[in-house]
């Protein structure tokens, strides 16, 4: 039987065509339906590297550079490139870590990626880099990446600038813009934190290509998709760098604070809190270690007294009570009160020192009479139906001076201080259980009052301005623009200028012939008021507030020297020297200066 197999040609052809169709379908799925391969191809070849922008610089009011950037080097590791004969011991001793630390870091890097670089040791200084770089050829798998770290030109103003540090997970989680990635730096305190957005600029992105062996193959599509980094904005501070330095020198070996403000603008000229530290300690790879040391220091150098310490303002507060009394017509310029070494009422005694009696308003300021202000305070509160009503009016004036409130300002993390509300006393003594006598300590700036040195400097600025203040602030310009419209607004206290003129005159006489005589400067009309804050823990705190010149004032200042006794001994000369330095640029009173440089005996 002869069989014809020709039709089998068709069978085979159909089989082959079906296989071809299967291939095309498979290709369709691989190439068109499934898009994951595109990502995989990109993951293979593209290396996304961050291009870090330079952080903004910070200048002082005279355009002197205060904060800049310096090259530092991150030591990077690519685990797969480590050779078998890697000399771990010598490597560890070179970068000064122990061998267990080496292993943990290596494991961490491996976990991240065997092929991509990760940071092994961050921010190695220029100097260390130079000595390590020479030996790097021995250690394949490691390389350096250039970063910048902060450089604070002088070892001062640590509390103003704050510091930057690596972002932690909680910052990354809270960051709505998704800007921060692990390993980025962020301002953690001070101006660095306050102006983080402006200072950081924006990161750039470089897309590089690498082949199968992870060798560099240049930039992807000639950099078409790269993003150039944008440098951070430069900040222009109102700070006077030289004055700040001088103030820190004066305050050396003491505890306390100095805050100086330009009353006409609200710009902070100096913000000093001692003990302090060198801001460069909290930079680079020693930051964590140094931070711990500072944190454990019993002198609490990290605590910013100028902004956070709440002191009773002592006699300096009499100025406020004088002004409120005048505005409330509870007293007049010519009201006199007698003083018999204090204020005695029933069983209550508020002592006073030896001075002429009776005194009028000006005399009471010059001689800082306690009795006068106890009586004046009584007169203010007694004007109203109840003392409580009077107290509410009084407190309202006090808050207008910026006490008991925070400023809407760039001053980081400052305290609102404490001026008790009427409810505070209600709670303590019962709604009708307290009278003006109960809270009489407030008359002389003692009692529950908690005032920060910043607030007191601002009070001085208000008197200097004869009735208003501009919110104190640290940065006057970012690039070319004013950071906050608030800094153009005058905040009035609701007390007439004529009363301020009178108080200013009295303050002038305090320095000319009263308790603040040590503050007198030839050729400069200084106005001031001493204070002594009682301190349950030891010697009283010495306080002085001042402004100068009397007319058209350029500087107002508050000085707190803790445990230094009467205001006149330490706080007055320091404030006076600061004023002289700021207004005359050079200090002629070298003897006084030398005495102040020395520690409190």
């Amino acid at each position: 039987m002869k069989v014809n197999y020709e039709e089998r040609a068709n069978v085979l052809q159909v089989i082959f065509i079906i296989i071809g169709i299967i291939f095309v379908i498979r290709l369709f799925f691989l190439q068109i339906i499934d898009s994951s391969y595109k990502n995989s191809a990109n993951n293979n070849v593209l290396r996304y590297t961050t291009d870090y922008p330079g952080r903004g610089l910070i200048y002082d009011r005279n355009n002197e550079l205060m904060v800049c950037n310096e090259a530092a080097y991150d030591l990077m590791i690519i685990p797969k490139d480590l050779k078998k004969d890697f000399d771990t011991l010598s490597f560890c001793s070179m970068i000064n870590i122990d061998i267990n630390d080496f292993r943990t870091r290596l494991d961490k890097a491996k976990k991240f990626s065997r092929y991509k670089g990760s940071v092994f040791e961050a921010q190695i200084s220029k100097e260390d880099y130079a000595s390590i770089q020479e030996k790097m050829y021995k250690y394949k798998g490691f390389y350096f990446r250039l970063r910048t770290i902060r450089k604070y030109i002088k070892p001062i103003a640590a509390h103003v600038f704050g510091y930057i540090g690596e972002v932690n997970q909680s910052i990354i989680d809270k960051d709505n813009d998704k800007y921060y990635k692990a390993g980025d730096y962020v301002g953690i305190a001070g101006i660095e934190k306050q102006y983080e957005q402006e200072l950081r600029g924006s990161k750039g992105l470089k897309i590089l290509m690498a082949d199968a062996l992870n060798r560099d193959k240049g930039s992807y599509k000639n950099g078409e998709y790269d993003i150039a980094p944008v440098s951070g904005s430069n900040l222009y501070s109102g700070l006077d760098y030289a004055l700040q330095e001088y103030g820190e020198k004066l305050m050396e070996n003491k505890r306390g604070s100095v805050v100086a403000i330009d009353p006409s603008t609200g710009e902070i000229l100096a913000l000093i809190s001692v003990p302090s530290y060198d801001p460069n300690l909290l930079v680079g790879r020693t930051r964590t270690k140094n931070y711990k040391l500072l944190q454990d220091d019993p002198n609490k150098p990290l605590f910013n007294r100028a902004l956070k310490a709440k002191y009773p303002p002592g006699s300096t507060f009499k100025l406020i009570n004088a002004l409120i009394g005048l505005q409330e017509r509870a007293i007049t310029f010519s009201t006199t009160y007698p003083c018999s070494r204090g204020f005695h009422y029933g069983g209550l005694n508020v002592g006073c020192h030896e001075h002429n009696s009776p005194l009028d308003l000006e005399g009471s300021i010059i001689h800082s009479c306690n009795a006068y202000y106890c009586k004046a305070f009584g007169a203010i509160l007694n004007k109203y139906k109840t003392d409580r009503d009077g107290y509410i009016v009084w407190r309202n004036y006090v808050t207008k001076f910026g006490f008991g409130n925070k400023f809407n300002s760039d001053i980081p993390n400052h305290s609102s201080g404490f001026v008790p509300k009427a409810e505070y006393y209600d709670k303590r003594y019962g709604k009708n259980g307290w009278k003006w006598l109960t809270v009489i300590s407030l008359a002389i700036g003692q009692g529950e009052l908690g005032i920060t040195p910043l607030q007191l400097a601002n009070m001085s600025a208000i008197i200097a301005n004869r009735g208003y203040y501009i919110t104190p602030h640290l940065i006057k310009k970012i690039g070319n623009k004013v950071p906050n419209k608030e800094y153009l607004v005058k905040h009035y206290t609701g007390i007439s200028k004529i009363y301020f003129d009178k108080v200013a005159d009295a303050m002038y006489n305090v320095v000319e012939g009263g308790t603040g005589m040590g503050g007198k400067i030839n050729g400069i009309s200084v106005c001031g008021k001493t204070g002594t804050a009682q301190n349950p823990h030891g010697k009283d705190h010495s306080i002085f507030v001042a402004f100068a010149p009397k007319d058209n004032p350029k500087i107002s200042i508050s000085v707190f020297v803790e445990n230094a006794g009467f205001g006149a001994t330490w706080a007055v000369p320091i404030a006076s020297l600061m004023i002289e330095k700021y207004l005359n640029d050079t200090v002629l009173r070298k003897d006084l200066e030398d005495r102040m440089f020395k520690p409190i005996p």
Binding site: V3, Y5, E6, R8, A9, V11, L12, Q13, F16, I17, I19, G20, F23, V24, R26, L27, F28, L30, Q31, I32, D34, S36, Y37, K38, S40, A41, N42, N44, V45, M209, A210, D211, A212, L213, K217
Partner: protein, 424 residues
């Protein structure tokens, strides 16, 4: 009347032959473009650089062209007359290479001649095709006879075993595809079906436990034995089939675990997802799929494939050349290549059927199934449908032996289809 019909047929054949030559040329040239891309190096952009693959391939293409023209010029009876001598010479060289060959990646299958290497296994397919066609086309041979089938099988088995001895599993596998030629010449279609079913069963045994499969087979067999209890003969057949497939399964299991090398097993297990190994055995396949998959609809363009350019796919100018097409020319480019191959193969079969001489017809079938075997294995591997088996894509892959042997294979067939006046 019959004259006109004959004339027209000749013209058609002439046209089809010309089509084959055009497709051949297209594949060779497009192949070269992809070899160039796969070896592209920014530092050396010269097109003719004989130290590089693309440059060497130009020499091979020139040589292949020379051979093609030479074949078209000599008498078409030459190859049918010298079939056996060619076969014997090539078989001897396959034996010789085992002893004097250069070892490359575990396979001893190359003759080193100066800076060029020749792989006799590539020519084995051509020689086997000639010998098989010569034997089966002899006037006294009838394929229905058992003896004929045995001898034909021996002609195929000899090179198959020799190549297996050289450790070149991929090339050896191609010889299995001659079963399609047998089918055309009269082998029962049932054997093809049984073959497919067995292959399915054995593949299944890689995924499912073999004893479960045997149990299932037993149940099916019992059912049929019961159902067909009136016909004793059928019962015996079913039981025989069961015993055969069960023992095949068990021996396959033994071969899989004891005869196959670890890297073969790895490649197979990677294919079935039993083993995930991105850096080892699975690396090639993953990178190959990434290259092809990332090509999208129209591809990334000439020299723009990052997988290709930066050497993510190993062996890219030879076994994985299809990746370059997939990545740089996308779905469009790779589909066109698939269609060209299928069209070429289908046309060769059509053309074979029109041959008057059985030698030409059988030889044509051999050519078709060999090209098909390479095409299927190579592309299925590149797109992850088969385990990694290293064989070249005909006309396309880099390599002189492959290009020359496929050129000779094809042009000998073209020569058989007509006389030179009509095709050149």
């Amino acid at each position: 009347m019959s004259y006109i019909k004959d004339k027209r047929k000749k013209i058609i054949i002439g046209n089809v032959s010309n089509q084959l030559i055009i497709i051949y040329t297209l594949l060779v040239l497009f192949g070269w473009v992809n070899i160039y891309a796969a070896n592209f190096d920014n530092n050396s952009t010269a097109i003719i650089d004989f130290s590089r693959n693309a440059g060497k391939q130009i020499i091979w293409i020139g040589l292949a062209g020379f051979f093609a023209i030479f074949i078209l010029l000599i008498d078409s009876r030459f190859f049918s007359i010298f079939s056996y001598p060619v076969y014997i010479i090539i078989m001897l060289s396959l034996i010789a290479v085992i002893f004097v060959g250069k070892e490359v990646a575990g396979s001893r299958s190359w003759f080193q001649i100066g800076s060029f290497a020749l792989q006799p296994a590539e020519f084995g397919k051509f020689a086997t095709s000639l010998a098989l066609s010569k034997y089966l086309s002899a006037t006294n041979i009838r394929f229905e006879e058992f003896k004929t089938r045995i001898i034909a099988t021996i002609i195929i088995i000899i090179p198959f075993l020799l190549i297996l001895l050289q450790n070149d599993t991929g090339s050896a596998l191609v010889y299995g595809f001659f079963i399609f030629v047998f089918y055309r010449e009269g082998l029962s279609g049932n054997i093809l079906i049984i073959g497919v079913l067995l292959a399915f069963m054995l593949t299944l045994s890689l995924i499912v436990n073999k004893y479960i499969i045997i149990s299932c087979l037993a149940v099916v067999t019992l059912y049929f034995v019961y159902y067909t209890r009136r016909f004793k003969k059928d019962r015996i057949l079913f039981i025989f089939a069961f015993v055969l497939s069960a023992s095949l399964l068990l021996s396959f299991d033994y071969i899989y675990n004891n005869v196959l090398k670890t890297h073969h097993r790895d490649r197979i297990e990677v294919l079935f997802g039993k083993k995930v190994d991105e850096k080892g055995a699975g690396y090639n396949v993953i990178q190959s799929k990434i290259a092809i998959g990332s090509g999208g609809v129209i591809g990334k363009g000439f020299l723009e494939g990052t997988q290709t350019k930066y050497n993510f796919v190993p062996e890219q100018s030879t076994d994985f050349i299809f990746c370059t097409v997939g990545e740089e020319y996308g779905f469009l480019g790779s589909s066109i290549v698939v269609i060209l191959f299928i069209y070429l193969i289908v046309q060769i079969i059509s053309l074979s059927e029109r041959q008057r001489s059985p030698f030409s017809r059988i030889y044509g079938y051999c050519v078709a199934v060999i090209i098909f075997a390479h095409f299927v294995i190579n592309i299925a591997m590149a797109i992850g449908l088969l385990p990694v088996i290293g064989i070249p894509l005909p006309f396309f892959s880099y390599g002189g032996s492959s290009l020359l042997s496929f050129t000779i294979l094809l042009f000998v067939f073209i020569k058989q289809t007509g006389d030179k006046h009509e095709i050149i």
